[in-house]
């Protein structure tokens, strides 16, 4: 049967290739995990940051904003909003929503406590200090 295309061979190549590349992915993931302490800013992963992340998630912020470029593209990138605007501005901004300007995009009012606002800012500050290989290209995100 030389020169033909046997199904058994195609099958063997599929199983071999799939296992081979999956193992490669697992090996690379191990290496990534062991290298993360240098880039993921875990030293600053405080209780306040963790509470902030929880608030970020339970208000579905990702449904409009991007964070490190991932999310919806309806509202500004927030991975670098801390260096762009500063903590006080962020808190004042959240408190003043929605603007109610006719025809403009609106952000809901979440009625956060002062503590919750501080937690959100802590989370955004921590996020902005992750080593993202110099992304985004500029401060506008």
């Amino acid at each position: 049967m030389s020169g033909t295309f046997t199904k058994a061979m195609a099958r063997n190549i599929f199983y071999g290739g799939a296992v081979f590349f999956f193992l490669l992915l697992v090996a690379l993931s191990f290496d990534t995990m062991s290298g993360l302490p240098k880039s993921d800013n875990r030293a600053n992963l405080t209780e306040s940051v963790l509470r902030g992340k929880h608030i970020w998630e339970t208000r579905n912020c990702i449904g409009c904003h991007t964070l490190l470029g991932e999310g919806a593209y309806f509202a500004p990138e927030l991975g670098n909003v801390y260096p762009r605007r500063g903590g006080e501005f962020i808190k004042a901004w959240i408190k003043s929503q929605p603007t109610g300007t006719p025809g403009r995009r609106q952000m809901p009012q979440f009625n956060f406590t002062e503590q919750e606002l501080d937690d959100i800012v802590a989370f955004l500050k921590y996020t902005s200090e992750i080593n993202t290989q110099k992304w985004p290209p500029n401060i506008e995100g």
């Binding site: 295309f5 199904k7 195609a10 099958r11 190549i13 599929f14 290739g17 799939a18 590349f21 999956f22 490669l24 992915l25 690379l28 993931s29 290496d31 990534t32 993360l36 880039s39 993921d40 800013n41 875990r42 992963l45 992340k53 929880h54 970020w56 998630e57 339970t58 208000r59 579905n60 990702i62 449904g63 409009c64 991007t66 964070l67 490190l68 470029g69 991932e70 999310g71 919806a72 593209y73 309806f74 509202a75 500004p76 109610g100 025809g103 403009r104 995009r105 609106q106 921590y126 996020t127 992750i130 080593n131 993202t132 290989q133 992304w135 985004p136 290209p137 500029n138 401060i139 506008e140």
Partner: protein, 460 residues
């Protein structure tokens, strides 16, 4: 239809199409919110509409995959389904859970929904595409396990063909990788890293197995080409998909706090990701050109060819467009990503499910194919939806290029919202293309109600 238990596929297909309609309605609402920002605010803010839009997509595709599996596996295994009752029970559980989740999104503030459903016990919500409450996630796992049990048992007692084995591997992979959605570490980088193990390994990994298997099944049926031939192609395509797609995960690890080497690994492997999609296109056309019979269901052949072409364009070409790290540095998280997402999901997964529905639905309704007029109506639906999706993609790409230019490349970068105003013309055009898409969907729905002489079952 050869086995009576295949008929459980019918409710799955109907539910899939129903949810598809819901997805498009919310898509239109969001398209309008992009240009009239306060539309429906505060009743349905953008984030809620988007969550409904994307979650409905995922759920209806899952319904479609399950329906396709219930139709395909008994026929391939040459035996009745292990338990049609279990399949029907799971249908209702999944439908009720899905509907309850969507209603929860719409009627209850998201943070309240999170508290009500145990998110404080195990926080998994609030991450893109994985917004479902913990209870829903657990429900998905249970439904998936019952479904896989049913299918695996069917396969074990029947003939084991390559198509059904590949399909089953894809479905098992789908269930297994979904488990990563329960892992949500506080460390944002780890969170994002494993989030992709669900999202990427689904759509650029195991879903491709499901898609290729369904396409292969329909092609065997409508072209009459030798099974041996089609199965070899199937192996080649899925090998290429996994060889490129597994390490291709790296194209999501460029800018999220992961080591720099992913820029090289991700770029090289994901640059090769169009190859399996290209092979799939060649495969579909090759088989149809060498067909050994003229199947009366011409619409199904059109959907199958459309899947090949649109998957290659959307996933292959539009994916390649921004997958190289130096390009992605500027395009990451812009409207270019949205353009790619729309055409890739439509071309690969929407179309493959509709291909299966187009082939199976007439058989489930007791005929080999629909009346000529019904088929013409269905094909109008195909062309309207497909062409308008091409335009949606082109307008979003144009918006994205302009956005990247003004906001990222320029020496004097403009703020996000200022740029959004600059590109709003393209958003208006995208909205109108979306309206045409909805018209296409209505045409497609109408084709199910066109009366006429149906082709008898003899040729099936």
């Amino acid at each position: 239809m050869k086995y009576s238990s295949q008929s459980v596929a019918m409710p799955y297909f109907i539910a899939a199409i129903g949810l598809f309609v819901g997805q498009i309605i919310f898509g239109l609402a969001m398209g309008l919110q992009y240009v009239v920002g306060d539309f429906l605010f505060p009743e349905i803010p953008f984030n809620v509409a988007r969550m409904v839009h994307t979650n409905l997509l995922i759920v209806w595709l899952l319904f479609g995959f399950m329906g396709a599996t219930y139709f395909l596996v008994p026929e391939e295994a040459e035996t009745e389904l292990y338990s049609p009752k279990l399949a029907l029970a799971m249908f209702w559980i999944f439908l009720v859970a899905g509907a309850a989740t969507i209603l929860g999104y719409l009627l209850v503030p998201y943070s309240t929904l999170a508290e009500m459903t145990g998110n404080n016990i195990l926080a998994t919500m609030g991450r893109e595409f994985l917004e479902q409450p913990l209870l829903t996630k657990i429900g998905i796992v249970i439904v998936a396990l019952a479904f896989l049990f049913n299918i695996t048992m069917t396969l074990l007692k029947g003939r084991k063909t390559v198509i059904s084995i590949v399909l089953l591997m894809g479905l098992w992979g789908l269930a297994i990788f979904f488990l990563f959605s329960f892992y949500n570490p506080g460390n944002l980088v780890k969170d994002k890293f494993y989030w992709w193990w669900v999202v990427h390994l689904w759509v650029e990994g195991v879903w491709e197995l499901i898609m290729a298997a369904i396409l292969a099944f329909v092609l065997i049926k409508v072209t009459g080409v030798d099974r041996e031939v089609i199965e070899k192609w199937l192996y080649v395509i899925i090998t290429l998909a996994l060889v490129t797609g597994l390490i291709g995960t790296g194209h999501h690890y460029f800018w999220i706090g992961t080591p720099g080497y992913w820029q090289w690994l991700g770029s090289v492997f994901s640059a090769l990701e169009p190859i399996p999609f290209f092979a799939m296109t060649v495969f579909a056309f090759n088989m149809v050109n060498r067909r050994r019979r003229e199947h009366p269901n011409k619409a199904a052949v059109l959907w199958a060819l459309g899947t090949g072409v649109m998957a290659f364009l959307g996933a292959g070409v539009w994916g390649f467009l921004h997958t190289l790290a130096p390009v992605n540095y500027y395009t990451h998280g812009s409207q270019i990503t949205a353009a790619h997402g729309h055409m890739a999901f439509y071309g690969a997964y929407v179309l493959v499910v509709l291909t299966m529905i187009s082939y199976a639905m007439p058989l489930l309704r007791g005929r080999a194919a629909n009346d000529e007029r019904a088929q013409v109506c269905e094909m109008w639906g195909f062309w309207l939806m497909t062409i308008s999706m091409v335009f949606i993609t082109l307008f979003l790409t144009a918006a994205g290029i302009l956005q990247v230019w003004l906001q990222r490349v320029s020496d004097t970068p403009m703020p996000f919202m200022a740029v959004q105003d600059q590109v709003s013309l393209f958003y208006w055009m995208r909205l109108w293309a979306g309206v045409v898409f909805a018209a296409g969907l209505v045409t497609y729905l109408a084709s199910f109600f066109v009366k006429g002489e149906s082709k008898p079952l003899i040729h099936a």
